[in-house]
Structures are given as structure tokens and as C-alpha cells.
Symmetry: C2
Subunit: 434 residues, 2 copies
């Protein structure tokens, strides 16, 4: 299992588990799996949200969590070379020691493995300014389906289109087992400013975002809707103002003066859009306090219901208002709660369909609601996954978004890397309809 | 022909030329080429540097230069949707009208087509801070080998790894004909500062770069070597200081205060590294004057010899000094001049092997020198192309850089898109050795 709300039915026990300690162990595992006709599922720390690391058909589960060496860190060229088992936080910390910064920050960054981040092209709060994992992977070493060590890329952003690296990032373990990576780092921003605003109307908050985005790129732009606020209010003594139906957490970063200028402009826009209250942080303690609201979300939602289908759809920024309206309609139609929060700066919203795990009918209705949400997202020109991957949780929806021609090309690319379907079968690609 | 120094032997005349005015024309051309067994070579304005748009085997040349509509520009979501025949400058200008910025700037940006930029993953002076074309292509529409309209991507940077867009960018016309694209724009930087420094020793200039890069990301970082300076000095009354053997042009941009702070830090580092002279620009006229040196390079080199093999290799930043030393040795060994300049901020240097066109022996020696340069680059962990593409100019060197396994995967990907090898045959991929 992993951190996803649902793996397809079945017990999903592996036949063999390997805790690889080095490249040789990985090669041996691939050869063993191949010789014994076992599917091979590579796995990091299991924080995935789309059942990507769940061995659907049993087989060999190959964990790389013990492979956590920092092989090299080059301050002047700004990169770190490391093994896949390192946590995202380990990478960030190693960089921070040299005043460098590794920006991707999935919510699970303290425990998620960097190999898993690469396999899923993990995002996070800072994507709006800094992009996702794919923007930082300079090169990879992986073990291919024949047990051979292959390497791709490794240089700066000036490598031509022939590089296979971008194809491997986000390939969800279908093409090979990542055993080493070189990640780009950037100079750490010298200053960060934080502002939290409350609104009586989520659409005003969206208009505010829509207004400041053409002028500046915030480093964080998180939206929280009225359902989430209601869930938090039920138990936490959080001081929401009267009539608060939305909250917006924005950060600007960079050089001191520039970040402050941008913050001021954001605050001006928030005021213009009738924010009920605006709080800014002047020091790390205050910053922590503002961020606390974001952290209350998950525990609050888990108190509403024990089941939560957390989908991370993306729509064009200008379509977020329509999406929120339509999701409210879907929630009413199916009589389910769908609290929404997420990375509004790039249209990546988390739709949380709440349900009771024990109630099978309840679970089916939740699935139907999700399906309607996905259809709406596609209609609005969006995608069914922003940062969680497809895995086994969403591959049945792939043909909502991809044409049969596209899927055929993807199947052929999979075949080019892995002709015998050794790696992570049943994931990402929908079952062939032919 | 295009702007490359050499297309392989042959007259390369097309059998049919189509000036497409719309998508229907492109579809018709693809179907015509397919029915008549003609290879199809898509072409923009012909500014390519690797013979990518040269019809090696004749066939149908399909120009998209007449397809130059701006279809939409969304200020709040920061993107432009346009046809491939628009010039890079057109895209920049359309963005600038809304205080937005399209960063990629190949030297030919005033006349290069955006479709060609995408096909070649064009770079430019500002890559060091802003990345290459691939970082801006959100989505594409293309006509596939069956004459069908396909579309990929289109959203923000939060789309998962399944997206075929990154694969199409830099695919050099091998996968389909691009008929429309959506490009990301960014808020225009509010201020730009420029500094030009002269050095008596190129290695001191490299050390300076190496020193400031971990702390800040300049928007331009161009290096010019002693051979280039000698070439300019021969005819231009450029006021180089006595003993000048290298020049470094650096820009910082962003918010006023931040850009100024970064400039000051760069100047401090330049002084610490014994710059002979340091000039800064306080206004657009002065800026133009500093940039003038960069513009003198091409005409000056063309006065040394009428043939110039301009290669754009990339090496790790820390290996630029070694590369320059080794290229000097190669130049001595072959008795050729190899002036060097380029985008030192990301290790992308232009090695210009000068030769006399009329002298066949001279041309062969130049080719041998280039081959030695490529081998050195690969040895240093570099790549044989940074921004010019592979095309027909460098595909014979592909196996210096790519393993046979990698090339096989690339061949299969080509086959997935274009099983009958209709599009741009003979480019990028080396001839199959099997």
C-alpha cells in the first residue's frame, strides 16, 4: 500500500521484497525478477498518492530506501548527485548547508524519497514560482529491463531534445529503476515574506490572484475554501473572522527589497478585493503561525469522515472559479462534502471527496462524484493529475484526457524501454482496448 | 539550405514546395507526401544551424512562414497561443505590449520562426537565468504522420510526466509538423543592469563566473576569448585595454533594488579577479554601447576566413577552463584558428573552427579539429549540442554521446510517431549500424 486513498481490490502482497543497498543489488533484483517471471515494483518511502508503488500483481518489490548516499555536491555548478533513497528533506538540508536551495516541496517532503519524487514528478507549494521536480533533474542513472546500468543527461538546462531525462521523470517506475540522480540547485532566496488573508467570498480571492499574477510570481499561493474552513472551525479555536468563506496564503521571496515590494503589491490587491483581514509575518515565529492554518487542514478533514479521495486536478487559472462552482453542484447532487484547497497559483486544486470507509455504497457514490469532477476538469481544459501521478488510482480515467493515438505512442514508448512489461505493470497506462 | 556551415554533399533541391497558409494546407501536404512516397521536411525561416530543414533526399518542403497568427494571448494566465510562422521577435513584442516577457532569445530571434525554435529547442543569451524554449512550451498542436491533428499539453508547469510536449520540443521535425503552440510568458523584469569587464587572462574571468554563480543567477553571462578580441581589434577601433585577452558581459535583472544588489556583487567579484576595466551601463544608450562588443563578433570572425564551423558544445561550468586549454592545443595541432565565445553561465561555448571554403583540404582539417573538440567535450562530461540541434550536421557524432541502447530507444520513439519515416529522414538519429 501507499498513501493513496484506494488501491484496486486485491491483497497486493509482494512475493519477494528486496531492500537494495547499492546498484549491484538493484541489478541482481532485476535479473532475478526477469528470470523468475516476476513483475518488479520499485518503491521509495511509500508516500505516493496514486498507488504507484503498490504491487498489483504481486512480484518483487524493490525498495531503494537504504540507498541514501549524497555522492557529490558541487556548490559552484549548483547541483547535488545522490541516490534515490534520500528524503526530499535530506536533499534540501544538504543544499541549505551551502546557501543553496532545492525548491520542490511535496507535502510529504520530510519523509518522501527523492527517487519517488522523480518517478511521480512531485510538485508542492512552491511550484508556482519554481516549477516541479522535472525542472531540477539534470540527469539520471537507471537500471534497464536487461539489468544494464544506463545514464542520461547530467548537464545544465542547455541539453537538446534528444535527452531521455525528461521522459524518465514522471514515468512512475515503468521504464526502469532509478539508482542515482543529479539535481539542480539554486541560490537560496535571501528573504521570504508571508501574508494570510481572509475573504467572505472565494470568488473575490480568485479575482485577487488573477490580478496580481501577471505582475509578479509569488513563491506560494495557497487557497482554502469555505468547506475546509468549516471543518477546521468545528474543533480548532482558529480565529477566523465572522463570515469567512475563504483564505489565501501568499509568499514572496528573493532579495529583501524585491520580495518586500512584491508583498506590498499583493497586499494592495488583497485590500482592493475586500479581504476581511490581512495578516503579515515579520519574523519566523509569526510566519509559523500563519502557516499553521495550512497544517490544520488534513487533521480537520479526517475528522469529517474517515475516507478522503484527495484528487489533484489542474485547470487553467481563469477556470478555477467555474471549477469551484461546478464542484459545489456535484457535491450537492451526490450529497457528499468536497472541501477544496490547493496551489491556486497554478490552477492545481485538491478536491477532497469525503466518504465513510465502512459504507460501500458511500464509497461508490464518492467514486461517481470524482468521475464527474474529472469530466468537468477535462471540459474546462484541465488535467486529472497535477502532482500525484496516475498509478493505479487514475489510469482508468486516462482516456478522458488522452486520445487513443497519444496512448498508443505512450504504449510504444513503454515497449521501447521495457518490451516484456517487467516494470510496474498495470500502472499509468489504461488497459489496451484493442 | 539553412544557416549551418555545412549540409552533407548533394544539391538538396526539394521536389515540391508548399507555403502552407493554414492547418488544412499542412494536412493536405502530409497526405500528398505520404501518397507520393515523398519525404516531408517542415521549415520555418531557415535560420537553423544544423541543416535540420535541409531536404537531404529531396521530397516535399513545407514552409509554415505564412502561418503567423497570434490566436490568443491571456494576460492573467500569462500565455500566448500562436502559429509556428511567427518570428521569435513577434512573440516577444506581443508579450511586451502587456508587460509580459518571452525569454528565449537565439541570436537570430529577429527572424527565426517560433516553430523552428520549438523544433530545435532554441536557447540564447538568457538561458542561464530563464532556461530554453522547452521551458516555455505549454502545449502543441501538430499534424501526425497520418495527417491527423493531435494536441498535447497546454497547461501550467503542473502536468504529469505523461505529457508528450517535452518530447516534441527539440524533436527537429522528426515526429510531426507543429501547427500551433501555447507558450508561457513571465512578468517582464522591471530593471536590467549591464556590466562589461576586460581581463588579461581568460582563466581569471572563468574564476569570477565560478565565484558569483552560487550566489546569484545573472540574466546574461557572455564570455569572449582572446582570439575573438584579436579578430575584432584587427579592423574595429574598439577600445580594448592593453593586454586584454578576455571580456565578460554580465547582466542582472528583476526588481530594481534586487538587480542592483546583484550587479554590485558581480562587480565586486570582477574586481577581486583583477579585471582590467569594468564598464557599467546606467541607461539604454550605454547599454547598447556595451552590447555592441557582442555584435562585433560575427562580422569580425567572417573577416578572418570565409568558412566557420560554429559548434555549440556544453561542458560542466567547472570544466570550461579545461575545455578552453584543450581547444587551444587542438588549434595548434591542426594549425587552425578556433575563436571561442558563448554563454559561459551555463557552460555553453561556441567553438568556431575557421577555414577557407574554397580549400577542400582546409575544410577536411577543420572537420577533424571539430571531431577532436567533440571528443574532448564528451570526455569532460559535456554534450555536442547546446542549442543548435543535431540535424544533418552532427548526427554522425551522436554515438560519441549516446549509447547504442539509448539510440535504440530514440529510434523506437521515432518509429512510434512516424513508422514510415515520412518526416525529415536522415536527421538527428545516426544511421542504424545494425
Amino acid at each position: 500500500m501507499d498513501a493513496s486513498y484506494t488501491a484496486p481490490p486485491g491483497n497486493h502482497d509482494p512475493d519477494v521484497v528486496v531492500l537494495a543497498e547499492n546498484v549491484e543489488d538493484v541489478i541482481e533484483s532485476v535479473l532475478y525478477a526477469r528470470e523468475n517471471g516476476l513483475p518488479l515494483v520499485a518503491r521509495g518511502t511509500g508516500t505516493g498518492m496514486s498507488a504507484g508503488a503498490v504491487p498489483l500483481e504481486g512480484g518483487l518489490v524493490l525498495s531503494t530506501v537504504k540507498m541514501k548516499r549524497v555522492i557529490d555536491l558541487n556548490v559552484n555548478e549548483k547541483w547535488i548527485q545522490c541516490e534515490p533513497g534520500l528524503t526530499t528533506a535530506d536533499v534540501k538540508n544538504a543544499a541549505a548547508k551551502h546557501s543553496l536551495f532545492y525548491p520542490p516541496d511535496p507535502s510529504s517532503y520530510k519523509i518522501s524519497s527523492i527517487g519517488g519524487n522523480i518517478a511521480e514528478n512531485a510538485g508542492g507549494l512552491r511550484c508556482v514560482k519554481y516549477g516541479t521536480t522535472k525542472d531540477y533533474v539534470l540527469g539520471l542513472k537507471y537500471i534497464d529491463a536487461d539489468g544494464n546500468l544506463q545514464s542520461t543527461g547530467s548537464l545544465s538546462n542547455q541539453v537538446d531534445g534528444m535527452d531521455l531525462t525528461p521522459l524518465l521523470v514522471g514515468s512512475e517506475g515503468l521504464f526502469g529503476v532509478i539508482v542515482e540522480t543529479r539535481l539542480a540547485l539554486i541560490p537560496a532566496p535571501r528573504a521570504t515574506y508571508t501574508v494570510l488573508a481572509h475573504f467572505h467570498d472565494i470568488y473575490r480571492a480568485l479575482e485577487a490572484i488573477y490580478t496580481f499574477l501577471p505582475e509578479l510570481v509569488p513563491s506560494v499561493c495557497e487557497l482554502i475554501d469555505g468547506e475546509v474552513i468549516k471543518a477546521i472551525s468545528q474543533h480548532d479555536p482558529y480565529p477566523f473572522p465572522e463570515g469567512c468563506k475563504a483564505a489565501l496564503l501568499v509568499e514572496t521571496d528573493g532579495e529583501e527589497e524585491a520580495a518586500k515590494l512584491e508583498l506590498n503589491r499583493v497586499m494592495e490587491v488583497l485590500e482592493d478585493h475586500d479581504a476581511l483581514e490581512i495578516h503579515t509575518a515579520q519574523n519566523p515565529e509569526e510566519r509559523e503561525r500563519l502557516w499553521n492554518l495550512r497544517r490544520l487542514i488534513s487533521p480537520a478533514l479526517s475528522r469529517i469522515a474517515d475516507g478522503k479521495m484527495n484528487e489533484d486536478v489542474v485547470v487553467p487559472i481563469g477556470k478555477m472559479a467555474t471549477l469551484i462552482e461546478r464542484v459545489e453542484e456535484i457535491a450537492k447532487r451526490y450529497k457528499v462534502l468536497i472541501p477544496i484547497y490547493g496551489h491556486a497559483g497554478d490552477g492545481n486544486l485538491h478536491l477532497n471527496v469525503m466518504y465513510k470507509k465502512a459504507n460501500e455504497e458511500n464509497r461508490i457514490i464518492a467514486h461517481e462524484a470524482i468521475f464527474d469532477c474529472f469530466k468537468t476538469v477535462i471540459e474546462l481544459g484541465g488535467t486529472i493529475s497535477g502532482e500525484h501521478g496516475i498509478g493505479a488510482a487514475k489510469n482508468q480515467y486516462m482516456n478522458l484526457q488522452f486520445s487513443e493515438d497519444e496512448l498508443n505512442i505512450l504504449r510504444q514508448i513503454k515497449h521501447a524501454f521495457d518490451p516484456d512489461n517487467l516494470f510496474n505493470p498495470g500502472k499509468m497506462l489504461p488497459p489496451d482496448s484493442s
